[in-house]
């Protein structure tokens, strides 16, 4: 349904589940999902609260197109205050649970407080019940999923859960749904576990309705699917190699963060690339990639389903990992691979399986391991600290052992669960943490892609590629090619990407559609689905409103312009090889102009006029 106009409010402290009407005034301003839930969060919690206290809320939110026939219309997000960054967190996931929440008749679920004992929410249409989690607390996400499916005997039950990593306080824990799709970043799973909420199991059979203009909606979504199918990226490229097509591209352009971002090209990139995932291996003649997969309603199907080489050391005595499961996306392959110097595709696949199985973000995990490897290399960490683990760059064994320890929060896994910033602080070398606002970088070195430096520094959830993916323009030429080494024009480019992405997320769509779609393709779908005057222009304006709302939340949480920066390594140490050789990121040339075009003060604070113009 476009809007069911219903929110489920779950007070975990009191153990109550109450239906309430959706605030339609906010829905017509903030669209849905990321934007609308951020509005609820900003209105309902103190942004300065402790993220892991009962004062924080956690929201599972759908968009107006979630559950409809729009391509990729299965997305949902988890919105809360992040324990990793102290900033607003919004982690987006595909799979099937977003659609299920909508089909059960809900636009959002807001969790408040903290349950006195571990519980899970069982939601079947109007029937919402908090149940004891005694049988699943202490279990992995995969075990939890199996236990609940067996208990309810319903294969169509959709489950989002946290794993043992979150229970043990790993600060970058994810909420994993459908076993291998995740609201992965910023520690949203850690917040869920802190509330003693283990899982949300949903079954919805109400179907799709409430479309404002059904005929126009069918026309607009069919046309949208035609555009996706005819575009070479969304019609072919993403389905064939997935996001992993980028491994060789980004290495070739010299923007591949390598060994804790000391280098910008990885000699082993081709061994862990999308192309390598297609090559038959010696042992059984099969490729790492079994097939591609799609989230609900998606006609792109970028998902990777993989197996590990049956003769690989990681699964020698672990038959549970021998079958198909969620394979490497580019972000995971980079963070687990080039950033740790490991070029063993099967070891990376195994570590990725563990990230899904116990719910922790492979980007933050890989980046934290790589920081630990550098600390180990300079002697700031020794085997005394690591429990005997030889954390050497390039060691697949060290990587996979580290993954096993973080999954269960044992031994040195506790330290690794702190994330790169707190780990480097603890061992006396804060300069080795490659983070912004405490969140680890994704897979693009900003010395070789200047706009990404500004996008990282100003991202409202810390270092992130999905808040303003200027790689699309600077490297891939979509919608227009820009020079990755130029700083001129980048503040405008970053702002345009940030605002448009906020709107796409908030509609309930996957951002990968934007390799083919512009807001001109999306707006007719939204306008036909739901209330509000939705045009490409009004969606950009909503995106800008959302961006400023998130910024205001962060300022109220105590963040300042001083947090809009990059590690010194990226600002002062020039890239050593490749096309970016000799270059640093020129953030200082871009940031003042960015503040200005955003309508913010020189200190990065939205002015009263800007907030009034956007009616934030």
């Amino acid at each position: 349904m476009a809007w069911t106009r219903k929110i489920l409010r779950v007070n975990l402290t009191k153990g109550t589940c109450v239906a309430e009407p959706l605030n339609m005034d906010w829905a017509t301003k903030y669209l849905g999902q990321r934007g609308l839930a951020s509005k609820y969060l900003a209105e309902e919690i103190d942004p300065a609260c402790d993220a892991l206290s009962p004062a924080n809320n956690l929201i599972m939110a759908t968009g107006p197109l979630t559950g409809t026939m729009a391509s990729t219309g299965g997305r949902y997000s988890v919105i809360t205050k992040s324990p990793l960054t102290g900033a607003i967190a919004c982690s987006n996931s595909g799979g099937f649970i977003g659609n299920e929440i909508k089909n059960a008749g809900w636009d959002m679920i807001i969790f408040e407080g903290k349950s006195p004992k571990p519980v899970y929410l069982y939601l079947e249409n109007d029937n919402a019940t908090l149940c004891s989690a005694d049988e699943i607390w202490g279990k992995s996400v995969w075990e939890t999923d199996d236990i609940l499916h067996t208990k309810y005997q319903d294969p169509l039950l959709r489950i989002a859960a946290v794993g043992r990593a979150a229970e043990q306080g790993c600060l970058y824990s994810a909420v994993v749904n459908d076993k291998h799709r995740a609201a992965g970043r910023s520690g949203v799973g850690t917040v869920m576990a802190s509330k003693n909420l283990k899982a949300v199991a949903v079954r919805g059979t109400k179907g799709v309705g409430n479309i404002r203009d059904p005929q126009a909606f069918i026309r607009a979504t069919v046309e949208g699917k035609r555009v996706l199918a005819e575009n070479a990226m969304t019609g072919e490229g993403l389905g064939a190699l997935g996001t992993q097509a980028l491994m060789n591209v980004i290495n070739e352009v010299g923007a591949m963060p390598t060994r804790n971002m000391r280098e910008v090209q990885f000699e082993g990139a081709s061994k862990i690339s999308g192309e390598a995932m297609l090559e038959p291996r010696e042992s059984d003649g099969k490729a790492n990639l079994t097939t591609n997969g799609a989230c609900f309603g998606c006609t792109i199907a970028c998902g990777r389903i993989s197996t590990i080489d049956p003769q690989h050391y990681t699964i020698a005595d672990k038959p549970q990992y021998a079958g198909n499961s969620g394979g490497l996306e580019y972000e995971a392959a980079w963070a687990l691979g080039s950033n740790t110097g490991v070029d063993d595709l099967d070891a990376l696949t195994y570590a990725n399986f563990l990230c899904n199985e116990d719910g922790y973000d492979p980007i933050s995990f890989g980046a934290t391991v790589s920081a630990a490897m550098e600390l180990f290399q300079i002697g700031a960490l020794t085997t005394k600290d690591t429990g005997g683990l030889e954390l050497k760059f390039g060691s697949a064994e060290a990587l996979t052992k580290a993954a096993e320890l973080v999954a269960i929060g044992e031994g040195f896994g506790k330290d690794l669960g702190l994330g790169s910033k707190r780990l480097c602080d603890k061992y006396g070398h804060p300069e080795l943490s490659m983070t912004v606002k405490g969140q680890e970088f994704p897979a693009y070195d900003p010395r070789g892609i200047q706009g990404m430096g500004l996008a990282y520094a100003t991202s409202n959830r810390g270092a992130c590629h999905l808040r303003g993916y200027t790689v699309s323009s600077e490297i891939l030429g979509v919608p227009v090619k820009t020079d990755p080494f130029a700083t001129e024009g980048k503040p405008e480019l970053v702002k345009a990407f940030q605002d448009a992405t906020a709107a796409v997320d908030s509609a309930g769509l996957c951002v990968f559609t934007t390799f083919a779609w512009t807001l001109e393709d999306i707006a007719p779908q939204v306008a036909a689905a739901c209330e509000g005057n939705w045009t490409a222009e009004s969606m950009v304006e909503a995106g800008e409103r959302i961006w400023n709302l998130e910024r205001k939340f962060n300022i109220d949480a105590g963040l300042t312009a001083a947090d809009d920066t990059l590690p010194e390594r990226l600002l002062k140490d020039a890239a050593k090889t490749g096309p970016a050789k000799g270059k640093v990121n020129e953030l200082g040339k871009m940031l003042p102009q960015y503040y200005q075009i955003r309508g913010w003060t020189v200190d990065g604070v939205p002015t009263a006029e800007t907030l009034a113009r956007l009616s934030v």
Binding site: G237, T243, Q244, A245, L246, S270, V471, L476, G477, K481
Partner: protein
């Protein structure tokens, strides 16, 4: 002059069998252009989406110009995306 020629993604099948790591060393005339190479390896021109010379983007308007130098690496992708 000698060049290193690389093809990726769905174009890898167009490389000769002796290619390693998606790359092959080739000898070409000193005035060879990127378009000459695209045609020589039977790459449909619309599939040569991303053309990098030593990692730097070569604009479609410049692909017919003799701007390659001895020792260059030229790498070509069909339309690919990611995130």
């Amino acid at each position: 002059m000698k060049l290193t020629f690389k093809l990726f993604a769905s174009l890898t099948d167009l490389l000769p069998k002796e290619a390693r790591d998606h790359a092959i060393d080739i000898d070409v005339a000193d005035n060879a252009t990127a378009l000459d190479l695209i045609d020589r390896f039977r790459i449909p021109r619309k599939s040569a989406h991303l053309v990098l010379v030593n990692g730097v983007y070569l604009d479609p308007d410049e692909r017919g110009e003799a701007n390659l130098r001895d020792g260059d690496t030229i790498a070509i992708w069909p339309p690919v995306a990611g995130g």
